[in-house]
């Protein structure tokens, strides 16, 4: 291999592509700061402990190396969200804090969401509010971002991890079995769920079977209210989705509800959402609620946000 060739999954922008990227970056930062989201530029490298939190997925995606100065393990950021959690915790604020960022990240392997190993992650995060209005605010900001990127029309898919978690609270699965069940839900594999339930009988088996197929327009939310009537946390989660459904009415957005959606990272705790367009074979932007993400930094706060790969979307602009 010629040494001037870039490694697999690493790419660059030049000429008009680079210029277009920069124009969009400026427009997005203008939008976010106008809306009160303060710009942060987190470091590329940090101690591994503060980059990973408790997420196995982030751990697997993080390049790590030994710091010869301190003898400690360092990592290259694979996701900006844990860094925002650390920054927010350090402020020790009790009021609402809003952050935005557009940073290159590095991942050990590409995944469903990031096609390359070197995306430029753009995002906005809102800390300190557990109100549904905060989720609506970040969803609307995500939709405005996609408008700047000329992605039209947008299909937004919404779910709430709290429903799955409410069912899981009654189950006594070890961490490997829980991860397997999450994997089955990620692939909406009803056949594999049947095999799993055969091997590991679940207290809420009929409800898991119903949940994995529960998706569609807002009528799916009414079905969910009937199904999960004995799970107060799930009912609250569904009502939050209904509030978002109301807020999105009249915005010319096609909203669908996928209640089996669990998202990529384990740190999501509530509402999750992804944006799609028929010309793309993957989600273009995604986000959700991750309350308590800053706990390991000594500050457990409500948090919600979204992100997308600006490098990828700027090339299709």
């Amino acid at each position: 291999m010629k040494s001037w060739q870039l490694p697999e999954g690493i790419d660059e922008l030049s000429g008009n592509q680079a210029l277009n990227f920069e124009m969009l970056r400026r427009q997005l930062i203008d939008l976010y700061t106008e809306k009160g989201f303060g710009l942060v530029i987190p470091p590329m490298v940090e101690h591994v402990d503060s980059l990973l939190l408790t997420s196995d997925s982030v751990n697997e995606k993080t390049f790590k190396f030994l710091d010869p100065v301190s003898g400690k393990m360092l990592g290259v950021h694979a996701d900006i969200t844990p860094q925002i959690a650390r920054i927010d915790a350090r402020r020790a604020s009790v009021s609402i804090e809003k952050y935005c960022y557009i940073n290159a990240i590095l991942q050990t392997s590409a995944d469903d969401f990031y096609d390359s190993r070197s995306p430029i992650q753009a995002g906005a995060e809102l800390y300190g509010s557990n109100e549904i209005s905060a989720d609506i605010e970040v969803i609307e900001l995500m939709l405005e971002s996609l408008k700047i990127l000329s992605i039209d029309p947008v299909v937004i898919s919404l779910g709430n991890v709290a429903i799955f978690n409410a069912l899981m609270a009654d189950e006594s699965l070890d961490s490997d079995q829980a991860a397997e069940l999450r994997h089955i839900f990620a692939h909406r594999s009803s056949p594999d769920l049947a095999v799993f339930i055969n091997k590991h009988p679940l207290v809420n088996a009929p409800l898991f079977n119903a949940l994995i197929k529960l998706e569609g327009d807002n009528s799916a939310l009414n079905q969910a209210l009937d199904l999960f009537v004995n799970f107060p946390n799930a009912i609250n989660a569904i009502k939050d989705l209904q509030a978002i459904d109301q807020a999105l009415k009249g915005k010319n957005i096609q909203a669908s509800y996928d209640l089996a959606e669990l998202q990529t990272y384990e740190y999501h705790t509530g509402i999750v959402f992804s944006a799609y367009n028929q010309n793309y074979s993957k989600a273009l932007a995604q986000g959700g609620r991750y309350n308590g993400i800053g706990e390991s930094f000594g500050q457990s706060r409500a948090a919600t946000g979204f992100s997308f790969d600006l490098k990828f979307l700027s090339q299709s602009n």
Binding site: G216, S281, K282
Partner: protein, 205 residues
């Protein structure tokens, strides 16, 4: 427009009647032609017929919205970006460990010949058995006979090929059958069309 990727060979023979029952037909002259993208009885549905191992790749990258392929192929691919919504119950077989005898291991490291590298690694890792995987593309049964490996991991249907080569099926790893897979983004953007096909196929299983 919907594009469906179908696996060539034995799976295709069992897939076509299933699709016909669901309302999708491909004319014999299309099937016998050298065309790569085939027309169907419906203007808004096209079919591509490709190797089973390529089906999840086509569907993951959106070159096809839906596909039909074996669970063995999906286990190796990882099924990223795919929804595995239906077990079609066709092309059934088992992924198994087979060897010349029950006491197949000699030495500390087990040598395993297979084309199912991921599945074999995962199985022996879960058993706590260190192993060296020897990737082969065919004629797996030959490997233990000529001393290339201690055992094989392969799909077993009747077991006749194993028997003919002096091997016996031992540990059962996974039941295999064909699955209907869907690109997760297509499922969101073409939801009504895809769901009506999933329901039509499921109703006739």
């Amino acid at each position: 427009m919907l594009t469906i990727a179908l696996s060539k060979g034995r799976i295709l023979e069992q897939t076509l009647p299933l699709l016909k029952k669901a309302g999708l037909e491909i004319a014999a002259e299309e099937l016998n032609s050298r065309k790569l993208i085939l027309d169907t009885n419906l203007d808004d549905v096209k079919v591509v017929i490709i190797r089973g191992t390529d089906v999840p790749v086509f569907v993951q990258h959106g070159a096809a919205d839906m596909g039909i392929t074996g669970k063995d192929v999906l286990l190796e691919h990882g099924a990223n970006g795919l929804f595995e919504m239906l077990d079609l119950g066709i092309a059934k077989c088992r992924l198994m460990v087979a060897a010349k005898s029950e006491n197949y291991q000699q030495g500390n490291i087990l040598k395993v010949a297979t084309k199912y590298v991921k599945s074999a690694k995962k199985y022996f890792e879960q058993k706590g058995q260190p192993c060296e995987i020897i990737k082969l593309y065919g004629a797996m049964e030959l490997a233990p006979v000529v001393g290339l490996s201690h055992c094989i991991v392969d799909i077993v249907d009747t077991g006749n090929t194993l028997k003919a080569n002096g091997l016996i099926p031992l540990d059962h790893i996974e039941d295999i059958s064909s699955r209907l897979v869907i690109n997760s983004a297509s499922f969101k953007t073409k939801n009504a069309a895809i769901k009506s096909w999933v329901n039509a196929i499921e109703k006739n299983l």
